[in-house]
Amino acid sequence: MAIETPAIDLAPRFAFRLEGFPVLPTLILAGIGLLAVFAGSLAPHDPEIGSLAARFRPPAWQAGGSSEHLLGTDHLGRDVLSRLIFGARVSVVVGFTAVIVAGVIGTLLGIVSGYLGGWVDQVIMRITDTWLALPALTFAIFLTAVVGPSMWNIVIILGLVYWTRYARVIRGEVLSLKEREFVRLAVVAGCSKWTIMRRHILPNVLNSAIVLATLMLGVVIVTEAALSFLGVGVPPPKPAWGLMLADGKKGMMVGYWWLTVLPGACIMLMVLSANLLGDWLRVKLDPQLRQL
């Protein structure tokens, strides 16, 4: 007689795990990601070169607009749609890498600080407290004034400004993990501190780090846009959304609304999507973080 294995229906479990999954925000983020990757072949025009003869063309559906420039042109006659598409690249590259830089620094220091304790903990936490007291944008502006703006400088600067957020939370997690059975057993088994931190602590704080990273993505993108808006972000002529807003401000008083509304809407969509996804992940992956 054949033994029948009871079929385990996985579907309900997955349904539960995916309950309330923010589909639209994920699609938007994925779409922006695709735009960033394929900007070169998707953009109808060169984003950095325009013709002065075609300045301030309105979007296609307005009087005076043409299908040549679907979303109009800016003060140098550059195609707004192409600039928005290439701008996605700047936001995605800066946003993701800065979040990763901050995440790696913050998670490592948080683990070391929480696990080793003592004076190491004191030093790292005092630095964290102090840096947290600095308003993020002000601190970032100061750093760009010191090292000068460039895309990779901005990534490093944002990483330096935001790692403290991770360090705080991760340290708290490590403090409670440290008291758990499996860590104590590892100590008894003779694992070195570094092995425990790497093999036993790190995998257990990764969830929190990922949730934090998703939540930080929105913050980082807004800060990058603000820096570009103030003229200390990604230097022109590279199209960054914040920079487009700053340029658009000049034309706004005479009614060239598309130069401010469109890049702003892109920033908002991306940040809103990241926040919605982050919120969902926070609730799903890490109930402890709900208090954050």
Partner: protein, 306 residues
Amino acid sequence: MTHYIIRRLGYSLISLLLLSLTIFLFVRVTGDPTTLLVEPGAPQADIDAIRQRFGLDQPLWVQYWTFMLSLVQGDFGNSFYYRTPVLELYLSRLPNSLLLAIAAMTFSLLIGIPSGILAAVRVGGFWDSAGKVFSLLGLSLPSFWVGLVLILVFSVTLGWLPSSGSGTVWHLLMPAFALGWYFAAAHMRLTRSSMLEVLGSEYIKLARLKGLPQSLVIAKHAFKNALIPVLTLAGVNLVIMINVAVVVETVFAWPGIGRLLYEGVTFRDFPVVQAVVLLGGTMIVLVNLLIDILYALIDPRIRLEQ
């Protein structure tokens, strides 16, 4: 209590030292500080004078000592652009920033507290969901974009409000809204959670058992107690608002500290940038200290814990 305050004072002092050390080291380690501290195109004599004054040929700790000595004396150097002491410049802009912060705070509390209470009283209902959407929008909309759209609507299209500058109440409205927007969401969320906590407490149950009507329970008993943490946060946020208004002040050309920072960056006026960062950080460290001490006075559990 005294022990707690002394320890807390010690922490703040360390924070202030670390703050100055951070700023100091970033300027010195990332390159030649003379390029930052001396005006571009300054004559050799000026460069030598700055080198002399900050002792840039001395070892780092001597330089730090000189740096701290001048900071303690309130000497943040002279602005390259305005040619006046930076501290004077900062203090002349401070009242404007304070005015903007107070207006933004008023706005954010006017929106945040009623909507927070409404969300807590009708928890899970329509107003609660509306509040959630509102707070998500508040946290996601960048203030510079809110500012630009406001200008587009109220100045360009409708022509009701001046788009930039200062002087009248009308100039204050849009920047206060753009700055207060984010904080309104934060105040709403705190009011909601604080109100929920109070509504679950014993004395509210007692008030209900006495047969008081819902409106009276909320207005007289719950509201007052739920407001304490919100007002404390508002106090901290007022100081934070003074220091994070860079973008809003730039959009509306509001002559506050944020605008000063923007000018500092645009005109490559490094002493100004450095002073704004240092003074902003100091302000926030001091406010945190004040709040911790206040909390310890109110709540004995905090001062007894090690």
